[in-house]
């Protein structure tokens, strides 16, 4: 008997596509925690996040066969979750923008540099830090979370055109930032 290896996300998806609820439970135990935290950071309403989480896993169950194995399962699940959140948001009051504590820039620059070194994007992370919160929010929504401009608008509570202009501006700033400042 092979040593009991921890099943991969892919294999769990295959099992649950065949109708195994236990596999869904395992996937849930693995991914629901971080999904719920990430969702909560975009919408601080616990009830809405609970509902979205529930919908997400029901959707995972129903569309497991359609997952073609392209890309990570985590990213795929996040894609489902964020779209569910967007379609559920009705009241602007539910939405909280990315928080930016007052201490993020300034005195603790060295600390900041250390952090940025760990960001996936290296130089881009540094450039992102220099953006204003509004611009960063649209970049996060469109580029990092993979939403369309319309969906990003619904999430952030701003018109779609505003999203477009801000993305345009943000990308211009990032480009400029990367071109000019690649040596600290």
């Amino acid at each position: 008997m092979t040593p009991s290896a921890v099943p991969t996300d892919q294999s769990l998806l295959e099992t649950l596509a065949a109708g195994d609820l236990g596999a869904l439970r395992q996937l849930y135990d693995r991914h629901a925690p971080w999904l719920s935290v990430r969702l909560l950071r975009r919408c601080n309403d616990r009830e809405v996040v609970s509902d979205v989480l529930q919908d997400t896993f029901v959707a995972v169950w129903q569309s497991a066969e359609r997952y073609r194995g392209s890309g990570e399962v985590g990213a795929w699940m996040w894609g489902i979750a964020i779209r569910r959140l967007v379609s559920r948001l009705r009241s602007r009051r539910d939405v909280v923008l990315l928080r930016d504590p007052a201490t993020s820039l300034g005195a603790s620059a060295a600390f900041e540099d250390e952090l940025l070194a760990e960001v996936e994007y290296g130089d881009l992370g540094h450039a992102l830090a220099e953006l204003s919160p509004e611009l960063r929010a649209v970049i996060q929504a469109t580029v990092l979370d993979g939403l369309t401009t319309r969906e990003a608008g619904r999430l952030l509570g701003i018109p779609q055109n505003t999203v477009k202009t801000r993305v345009h501006r943000a990308k211009a700033r990032l480009r400029a930032s990367l071109v000019e400042g690649d040596r600290p």
Binding site: R25, W61, D100, G125
Partner: protein
Amino acid sequence: MSTHVLPTDLRAWVLGEADGIVSLSVEQHVMHCSDCQRAVADTMAAPPAPGAAPTTPAAAAPDLTLVWQAVRESLEVPRVSLLERLLSRLGLPPADAMLVAAAPALRGSWLCAVALAVSFAVGGAVSARTGSSGLFLVLAPLVPVVGVAAAFGPEAGPALEQESSAPYPLARLILLRTAAVLLAALPVVVVGQLAFPQHVAWSWLLPALGFTATVLGLSPWFGPWRPALFVSVLWVVATGAAARVATVTAVLAPRFLVLYTVLLLAGPVVLVLRARRLGTIGRISS
């Protein structure tokens, strides 16, 4: 170069204390790192640190166990169907509504009903030109007969043995289902009636119900299909003979109407009595 995140950053992110950039970084990473996913789960499951403010976002996180139960329930428990809700609205107790709606034959009989309605409509148009409604008179009573047989024939009763050992009265179940199937089948013949010339009127209804009752009454001994076939053949022969001798509507002469009424009354009574005495219906009973 593997970019991992500091455990402190991860924890801060979970508790909602991390700033924008750290969060960006953590979120992109956690999506595909199983170790960090586990760390998040552990952090969330752990009791709050001593001295932590009671309003930390971690406390505001959804109860994952409750959400799982909701997921499971929505996947396992069959939804209350439209038909069930309709039947409950009509006054049927929810349990009975569920049992009737679960009748496997209902789906099939709806399809047949639609097909028959269409053919009656076409036939009506044809006969309006030729002026004969005999065919309608022959076919109309057989529609509910076939429908009822389908309602509790072998295809509808594969679980009969298991159902028989349950306390719910089987005769009642079958009558409820029969009624449901009739409700599905009768609109068909109503449409047919409207499509065909008036002079047949609604008089086919009595033979229809009488035959249905006969099938029900004989089913404890023979199952539903044999009586259904027997009755159908008899009716076709009778109408054929009537058409030969006089007109088709001779089968609707008063003395026959009495016969149909007797059948209509006797059938369910026989069924219920026999079923109660034996407690079983169908092929096991003999």
